[in-house]
């Protein structure tokens, strides 16, 4: 059975027709063409699909599409500012060399954003714990942690 749902996506309202078994990631990638959200495992084990739902980081590969009804969803596409400007967290990942193949990056950035939104001054332990569900095979995480630290400092200093 197909059902219409509506939710806020990156600040604008969208209406989509979904089936009960559809996952949020299917709606984002296949129906709405937002391919920035990646699928690395489809089982909630890698975090590549992390998006924000009402400000909380969730795995879009496990999140039922129907559940999005009436909520606010933010994906990596929603972080970019006008005129192709990267957000502070995104820019920090670029600056610190926290990106290699980049497949984990959108999910990593979304988890980092969720952390910094709720904890503007995280310790290294808190950063590592917040990113526990996000696997990266390329970087060994050192530069990712540095990027989140840079973003934290810059966001705090922002007027």
């Amino acid at each position: 059975m197909r059902i219409n749902i509506s939710f806020m996506l990156n600040g604008s309202e969208v209406v989509v027709e979904v089936e009960g078994h559809h996952r949020l990631i299917d709606v984002l990638r296949d129906q709405l063409g937002l391919t920035g959200t990646k699928e690395g495992c489809g089982k909630g084990e890698c975090g590549a699909c992390s998006v924000l739902v009402d400000g909380r980081a969730v795995n879009a590969c496990l999140y039922p599409a129907l559940e999005a009804e009436g909520r606010s969803v933010t994906t990596i596409e929603g972080l970019r500012g006008p005129n192709n400007e990267l957000s502070t967290v995104q820019q920090a990942f670029v600056d610190q060399g926290a990106i290699q193949c980049g497949f984990c990056t959108p999910g990593m950035i979304m988890s980092a954003k969720a952390l910094l939104d709720s904890n503007p001054d995280p310790t290294e332990e808190e950063i590592r714990s917040a990113l526990l569900g996000n696997l990266c095979r390329c970087t060994g995480y050192v530069q990712i942690v540095e990027a989140v630290r840079q973003a934290a400092v810059q966001l705090r200093d922002k007027p």
Partner: protein
Amino acid sequence: MTDFHYIGKETKRPAGPDKAAGKAHYIHDLVRPGMLFGKIKFSEHPHAHIKNIDISRAERLPGVKAVITAYNTPELRIGFLRDNFALKKDKVRQYRDEVAAVAATDPETAEEAIRLITVEYEPLPGIFSPHDALKDGAPLVHETDARGRARSDNVLPLRFHHESGDLEVGRSAASHSAEGEFSTPLVQQCCMGTAGCIAEFSMSNNLTIWAKTQIPFLAQRDFNRALSDMGLGGRNTRVIVPTLGGGFGSGLDTHTYEYIAILLAFQTGRPVKIVYTRDEEFAFLSPRQSTHTRIIQGCDSEGRLTFRHVEVLQDNGAYTSWGATYPSVMMLPATSLYRVPNVYFDSKLVYTNNTYCQAMRGYGNPELTWALESNMDELAGEAGIDPADFRMINCNEPGETTPMGLKVSTCGLKECLESVAEKLDWKKKHGKGKRRGVGMASLMHVGGSGRIYRSDASGLIIKLDDFGNANVYYGGIEMGQGLHTFLTQAVAEALGIRPENVIINPTDTGTCPWDVGTHASRGAFMAGNTAILAAEKLRRRIFEFAEELFPKEVAKNIKKLQKKDPDFKAPDFDVAAAAKRDRFELKDGFIFIKDAPAEGYMRVELGRLLRAIHFRNQGQMLTADVFYDPPNELPDFEKGYGNISATYAYGAQGAEVEVDTETGEVEIIRMAAAHDVGKVLNPQTLKGQIYGALAQGVGYALYEEIQSHEGRILNPDFRDYKIPGTLDMNFPIDLEFIETDDEYGPFGSKGVGEPGLVPTAPAIANAIYDAVGVRVHDLPITPEKILAALNKK
């Protein structure tokens, strides 16, 4: 060259912002008009005769456009021994054998169709260990070879062997010796972006394939051969490489799923996409090969190595891919890590009904170094010498030629060992026991490409445009390691333009010159050398044209200034007379005469000069193409001799660990790493390479292992196959780069893509031994194995 503008600086990754914005396009994100989705039906037995395949129900499912098996498609043999087939006929030899495939309008229908295919099997006895495969009367995995000749055993016809000096002399000269048997498991590359492709035919039957590959040109050759086997001889393949979600060796061969997509695309006349799910990737993509190594080494009373005897047994799995040729790399450390005069190396490779194997970062080197560097500590213990001192006594030196004939141009191993010992506070910490310990291990690896094909070359084209941009076409693969970052720096440095004016074009066999592939840590080495050669060609041509055109442009500059300021006086410098090709310089995108007054109007922007060259009668556009084959040799692998690489990378890593003797858990307190990289090209990407590889080394040491029972993979997901996460890597890594300024490396550098994971596992194992006095010989070093060893003690 020492005065670098961009080399050694932290130039940013060109695709970084796109990747951060979710705008980079991986195979998963690509769509073609009319595209179908392919899905494969894999075997339900590890070894069985195929009695019957019923595809009728799948064919009737609405949305299904093709159902193929080996019985309704041309036979496509694949692999360098041609012992594998895209689809299997008569017999399956492993759980991942492809018995049928479908193409459908959407993924769900394709999956449903696969479920509707039924296959009748007659199970056969299987072999699941290389030792069993060697037993008399073991069932044959392959009854015949690729040419149809009967086989009598499971041993592959591949010989990698080396003997030098006289082992008996070495044995009798030894005052101490140590023998050990070591093994390494199957390990998955675990690219975060799984494997996949899209295949599409034009009406002229030329194929375009978007492939997750590290070898676009060898893949083109393989696919062209498949086209010919499909009756499309003379037709051509174009391989386009999208953004790669990691490589780590997984893209060094062509894959069965690619041939299946090609068959489906041809049959349906529509683009067909196959992308593996994570479970499929774990179960059906070729992992790192498992190995068993027996090693004996001896040294004299001074601690000098007198001999080394190494025998390797490898489980090839059911078919042959590049895993089979690991011994070609294993023989490097076996013969040449440390100075050892008498060496024996032999390897044996056998078929089993397990999954077959492929390349992974390090390619046999981590496997062999695991045995070698663990055994070095065992021998040091026998000889009563501190393991750090023992390594120093036997350390390689620049200028030596090793028993394998490797010519060591530069070697920073000694400095690396010293650095690691200092960072670990070795003298104070080693040998104290009490559940805390330190350990170290060294590595050597190819650092100047590695000749394993007749050609070890890479081509590169630079096309200058009217705006002073260098458009680069290069066949090497950016898979996250930072190849395009360095290529940008190298072109900017060597040509004399700004990095933002270097545009790296997508990798495409239709536009890029031939390249053997991105393996053997050769990416930066080859990209740099080709960039330097191409830039030289362009500079020569630019300066030739400048003799005539540069003075005219400067005259225009002066005229403009005089118009603005009638009092302006040009200096007394005869530009026309000085405009000689060898007196020009190009830097940061401006051309000038080296000894001319350093005034703005005495410089001409490159784009302006290029436009002057272009827009005149019989004008010219400047393009340079080069093809570089490095100065190395294709070794005779049966004799184990030949200088396989233009230069060699060295390094050492050390670990401090704490072992919980109640649980067997190992906690890494910190790690130290020192790598001879020749020259640091970009500190940030270089650190990223070592940190990332070291993390893979930690996983290899402590937990990564594909578990299987009678050929069936038991842990095909990240819950049961653990790779390091943020908390597993929560310890400081003290990293140092040793610069040896190699004469063959571009700007003095050596390849470093693989070395970072080579010595990690033995360094950790040696630290565990130092902490609690037990040695685990079989990777991974799990808590259970440590407890078992402690209980035995």
